[in-house]
Amino acid sequence: MTPELKTPFSPRKNMGVVLAIIAIAFFIGLPLLKNNFLLSIVMEMFLLAYLGQTWNIFSGSTGLLSFGHAAFFGIGAYTSTILLLKFNLSPWIGMLVGGLLSACVGMAIAYLSLRYKVRGVFFALGALACSEFIRLLTLAWIPLTNGAQGIMIPWKGENLLMFAFGVRKKYLSYYVILIMLALCSYIAYKIKKSRLGYYLAAINGNEDAAEMLGIHALKYQVMTMGISTFLAAWAGTFYAQYYQHFEPDVIFGAMRNFNIIFPVVLGGSGTVLGPIVGAVILQGFEGIVRNIIPSNWYGVPRIFYGLILVILMMYMPGGIVNFVKRKLRHSSPEKKTSAGGK
């Protein structure tokens, strides 16, 4: 008896598709409300989700914690901006250059670490050290980076080809980050459903066993780091063009690294929806807590915020999406969840 191949369209999957379409339609239509404040908040949320997704592509699938992903975000911001200011190169092209540079740095870091079997906590610390190194470099290399003051991009008017949309055409910036997030999530999904995804799952499951199945673990890990860091740099260019100003401590700081990882861990690392769910919840909580607590109770919103996160992490340690998936798997009749001795 051969087990049946899974049917492509189950009722549950259909419901998921419908919900996804509704969500996408909602976000496409959002600028029609002409509420720039709301748009800013949603854009911040998208940026959070996007960076989380790039991190998730590498760390979620390989199980190797890249604690310094902010470095690649920063490389993107600095590369496109420096090219813009020194050579008047369009940030659209700068975005690609930054992505390539970032991928090279990311792949070099991954190769050197993994080649010499630097794993677990040491990989995380190594990545953090590299990120710090790049931060210090931008602080010290003043002629190129303007040091601690950061870089201000002078406003030269709206120009689509120069990635300059300004406040009046804010909705264009909004669509850019929306498309970026959709594209990045699509790539994450495609990887998961491909040979690469299965290989990464195998390597994450047990590297020796994967090697013994002919999988060159190092090659696939480095490749994935390349994809992840290439995309992470795009967020940097977007940030620079949207805010028109950035400085090393904001771009590379510990808080930035934390903000990249946290939505994913909260939402469910290794899942495509995880970073998005995590970002929505983080941004949502922050908004709600700030609104219901009087503004002169300094620090209290943060306490509430932290408390809710602690509770979520305690009861859903694998993240929200993984928690829901597990629940669904247990309630699903067609799948066995445990096996006796055969």
Binding site: A201, D208, A209, L213
Partner: protein, 241 residues
């Protein structure tokens, strides 16, 4: 013709000689059993063959070529599959996905790989476990799934490290049936096993190892009669056959 040849292979861990001058010929199409007491160097032998450890001396010829300086994945790609004494199942994947990984070597098409995985699971009578997650399996199922996973690679040679460990007698019988079936499909097998009755029954040739040295080679009967093997390992001839 021998598919795998070890010439004077040695491996030291500091001052400890885990393997000293081991020479073995594995004949194509046969099952070669490797026996030896705990710590005699059997698993080290597998680790050296599959490239997880570099030998300190000697040469390993597989399918006519030296595989001495190759990495595990390169050796695997030459057609050498392996299971582990401490099973290394992908707990994060279902059984069919575990087995698919090997098949993905030949096709990047997931559905095709899944089909091949189902075929191999069917071949080993493991179909009913298809949708169970790796970490929910019992130890004996894990061992069998690991074997199925190695088979989807279509190896020329399969190294099995204690496939019967943790199995009850019925399961061991079933396993020996599977080994014979795999052999019939044209795959050469080298198997490490502690269950004497099983390994003596299924193997064409036996190699006995003690303190990292080969102490006897031959048919199961010859080896079981060998004085040195008896004193080193079997203890009493009466229990053997």
């Amino acid at each position: 013709m021998s598919l795998l040849t070890l010439n004077n292979v040695s491996k030291n861990f500091g001052g400890l000689k885990a393997l000293s001058d081991v020479s073995i010929d594995v004949e194509e199409g046969k099952i070669t059993g490797i026996i030896g007491p705990n710590g005699s160097g059997k698993t080290t032998l597998f680790n050296v063959i599959t490239g997880f450890m570099k030998p300190n001396g000697g040469d390993i010829i597989f399918d006519g070529k030296s595989i001495l300086n190759l990495k595990p994945h390169e050796i695997s790609n030459r057609g050498l599959g392996r299971t582990f004494q401490i099973v290394k199942i992908f707990g994060n994947l279902t059984v069919v996905e575990n087995v698919m990984i090997g098949a993905l070597h030949y096709t990047s098409h997931l559905a095709e790989a899944r089909k091949e995985a189902c075929r191999v699971l069917d071949f080993l009578n493991l179909s009913e476990l298809s949708d169970v997650y790796g970490d929910a399996l019992t130890i004996s199922s894990r061992k069998q799934v690991e074997m199925a996973r190695a088979l989807t690679l279509k190896p020329k040679l399969l190294l099995l490290d204690e496939p019967g460990g943790g199995m009850n007698p019925t399961e061991v019988d079933e396993l020996m049936g599977q080994l014979s079936k795999i052999k019939k499909s044209g795959i050469t097998i080298v198997v490490i096993e502690h269950i004497m009755k099983a390994i003596m029954g299924v193997s064409d040739r036996i190699v006995a190892i003690n303190y990292g040295k080969v102490i006897a080679k031959g048919t199961p009967k010859e080896v079981s009669m060998n004085e040195e093997v008896i004193s080193a390992y079997l203890g009493d001839t009466v229990n053997v056959l």
